[in-house]
Amino acid sequence: MPHDHHDEDAHSLLPSEPALRVKALETILVQKGLIDPAAVDAIIDRYEHHIGPQIGAGLIARAWSDPAFKAQLVNNTDGILSDLGFGGRQGEHIVVVENTPDCHNLVVCTLCSCYPWPVLGVPPAWYKSDAYRSRAVREPRQVLAEFGVIIPPEQKIRVWDSTAEIRYLVLPMQPAQSHGLDESELALWVNRNAMIGTGLPQPPAKT
């Protein structure tokens, strides 16, 4: 047995208080037959390993490559997402908002944390933070600057506050340097923040 791991011995083996409370609640719910723990595992697996921003990125890359698909994605969003198997929970009513040289779109939920789960996955911590929820509607230009995005004063900003069950997905402008690339290459340019409006498409990091 190890004797010399004093650092490990020093910290408590008990889980953090919220972790214990979750465990207690789950134990009660499972014992009472209200929750199937395997269903909880399956839900987590979907959002941890299957549903994420790569789905949205694939849609944007296809829209950049195929004008007919783009028209469907913008005008018949729920129909096309359902056909492709990308509809569902927290994305039942998706509206695609397109960035143009005249207009930049930014999405927020000031009242809670509404977000298009089936195409972007679960929202990142900053999207749910008090700071983002408070400031995005009032000072979007300063907020965007903190994400490294500078919007020229003459380019209008539209901030979409997701107060109903409509979920907004930003269709970013295709960067000029990416023209001519195929769909799978283009998808690597589309990061999650570009589809929320707090980022712009970027060349993929060199590997």
Binding site: G33, I43, L111, V137
Partner: protein, 230 residues
Amino acid sequence: MTGCKMKPHHDMGGDPAGPIMPDKPDDPIFAKPWHKRVLGLTVAGGAMGAWSIDTSRFWRENLPKADYQSFSYYEKWLAALTNLFVAKGFVTREEIINGLPSGPKQPLHAAALGADRVLAMLAAGAKASRPEIAKPLFQEGQKVRTRLPDATKRQMPGHTRLPHYAADKIGVILFYHGHHVLPNSNAHFLGECPEPLYSVEFSSADLWPDGHAGDVVIVDCWQSYLEPLT
């Protein structure tokens, strides 16, 4: 009635706040293992059909102010979910206080979400749209005035999706989305009461003293949140 005019703590659009902390590309989806457990329990609990997403939202925002402000995101979900299970009679206060179920192991409840139903449940979602039962009162392009949030509530304390920063303001109807379930009613088990839902565009300069000219904020508003401009 002064208490009713207080802006609730969850309605924070426009409040002063500190810097935003963007994440890094390789940050995990769930910062802590218990976060994912709360998400899974919340989604599975909701799938029982004993309450709607509107009710869940109301119970989260109705947590005491000190808890709402000090709890992390998933702690709010956990606290509201626990309270809902007790309020709906599925679990007793004693069981929660003791951290233990009071009786022997029960078979899976008829309404409980089995693992075999998860994929279909997530893929189906729960549409909020309903058949159009009346023509919408407002047309796209029409100017409207928003009411006060408390004036849209069906009970006190109550639920509304009209934020204070967009209350008693003049905006323009941008889109009509058809009829949608009204959260103000549905959150309190008072019926779905579907209403026309609109995206309403407000000029930032009308909302904020320091709003950038030309910028706009769009808020989705049910018809009962709006009055015609006379």
